[in-house]
Amino acid sequence: MHVPDGFFNVAVSVSAAAVAAAGVAVCLRGARRELDDRTAPMGGLVAAFVFAVQMLNFPVAAGTSGHLLGGALAAILVGPHTAVLCMAVVLLVQGFFFADGGLTALGVNVTLMGLVTVLAGWGVFRLITRSLNGRAAITAASFAAALVSVPASALAFTLLFWIGGTAPVEIGAVAAAMGGVHVLIGIGEGLITAVTVGTVLAVRPDLVYGARGLAAPLVLRGPGGESTVVPPAPAPAASPRPARPFLLAGVGVTLVLAGVVSFFASGDPDGLEKVAEDEGFLGRATDHPFASWLLGDYGDGGGVPVGVAGVVGVGITLLVAGAVAYAARRRGTGAPEPARETGGVAT
């Protein structure tokens, strides 16, 4: 599932990076509310756990095996904001330390395996636990959440592939292959998530973010053996945060960037097509509705090569992503910061 360098075209990589950066920036702010001073250690532990469990391959069907994505599990254990941060860290570490997943595909990977799995998983989980309560309901909701999160991620992958995959494979075939395999993987993920959450719930329910609010009254024993009961202090009510700012920020940044990048890229000749024309074996490349949008097209005309446009586009993304992260950091620490480069980014 880890997408390597060169798998998606530059526009998709860039847009996904922008979405990922915006999502992570929003979560950096949200995470502080979820776990207080335990955020970093708990997040680190869950990240290490997700990393380890991703190495745990389980057999799916005839010869293929799948591994856990872990997004839904992380969301249920530590809350959705921290979960996104965990997944981002796992992917960063895998990319930089283990060369697993391309550095330029980091945005795609964080979007697919972090944002999408967490959002889908947590959404389903909340939907079920809003009306049902108790351990069995939480465990069942965990199963459903993880089950949905994997095909959701595969679907998002297919969508990205449709927009800007570099491999000329029929979108229907990709959808079928990804969908089929990932529904099966989803069942595995659902089972593992449900059993993990169930086990933790049975032993340490206080560790499950999705199951807060269990506290019994305290008993005091006096020297003579007499007992008095002290009612527990009321737990602060935690309200679920809407995912809207998340989505708005992502969509906004994507649109801005898509505009910028396609401005630079419009009318670029694609390398293959140029060669194909020269060699005279041009077969009409598959056209899709997004063909004229972004860099997905094998257009014609002269001008700047795609590569150079790509470098420019990626440079812009880095600037924007940096600005978003910087702004979020500043706001997080509460230091006054003159507004700059934050226009259009709704964090």
């Binding site: 340490r204 329910p205 206080d206 269990l214 506290a215 019994a216 305290l218 008993v219 005091l220 024993r221 006096g222 020297p223 007992s227 002290v230 527990p232 202090a233």
Partner: protein, 253 residues
């Protein structure tokens, strides 16, 4: 029950716990109103069977767990959210498993971690690190990775990591567990040589007798006995009532 609380001569106690009660978030209650007082310079053993709430009590002493009811004060300063950093400087907690305590790549960095968190840097930091390691006789291991040391050496380094913070009171959780007899004796010598208040949590009764004049028995989430170690250990009935046993062949004269 032997109650022999010495008068504090008007001075502030190193540690004062009153009516402390706590339940884990899963609803299991571990402490049911603990009262205890440790004077400055004392070495006190906290005895109790497994599951008596010893570790839970220890985690309250530096504010890692927040009391559900009751108070803890260290050298007069109550444990509260806004005093946590100072409380953690004053209470040096040595955990049972040195592998939990040592997490930096070298002994030097590990010992420096605590004082560095207090904002100490440069020359003074180096001096603190070296002094602390000198006190536990581990100065020559300063640049080695902790996981290359023997278990006994690691426990001594763990003590040094806490000494480097110049604590008011040293709290040791099962200091003698898993030590071979020689390491055990060396650690006892080190602890005796330190000029600091010590609270030692253990079910190793001979070790308590060797190091501490006074002992407390924690049982069922309350302090069940408090008195001179020798007297408590001589009371076979008291020990049996709280699942404490002297090793075979060991008698208290």
């Amino acid at each position: 029950m032997t109650a022999s609380r010495r008068p504090g001569d008007g001075a502030v106690a190193s540690l004062e716990v009153s009516r402390l009660a706590y339940a884990y978030p899963d609803g299991t209650q571990a402490l049911f109103g603990v009262d205890l007082r440790v004077e400055r310079g004392e070495r006190v053993a906290l005895l109790g069977p497994n599951g008596a709430g010893k570790t839970t009590l220890v985690l309250h002493l530096n504010g890692i767990l927040t009391a559900g009811h009751g108070t803890v004060a260290v050298a007069g300063l109550p444990v509260a959210k806004d005093s946590l950093l100072e409380i953690r400087r004053r209470v040096g907690l040595v955990f049972q498993d040195p592998d939990d305590q040592l997490f930096m790549p070298t002994v030097r960095e590990d010992v420096a971690f605590g004082p560095a968190n207090l904002g100490i840097r440069g020359e003074e930091l180096q001096q603190r690190v070296e002094d602390a390691l000198e006190q536990v006789g581990m100065l020559e291991a300063i640049d080695r990775p902790p996981h290359h040391l023997s278990f006994g050496q690691r426990r001594r380094v763990a003590v040094a990591t806490v000494l480097a913070m110049e604590p008011e009171i040293l709290v040791l959780d099962e200091p003698s567990s898993n030590l071979d007899p020689a390491s055990r004796r060396e650690l006892a010598e080190i602890l005796r040589s330190l000029d600091v208040t010590v609270l030692m949590v253990t079910h190793d009764l001979p070790y308590a007798l060797e190091l501490c004049e006074r002992s407390l028995i924690l049982s069922g989430g309350v302090i069940a006995a408090d008195g001179p170690t020798r007297e408590l250990l001589a009371d076979a009935e008291l020990l049996a009532a709280h699942r404490l046993e002297l090793p075979y062949g060991f008698t208290v004269a």
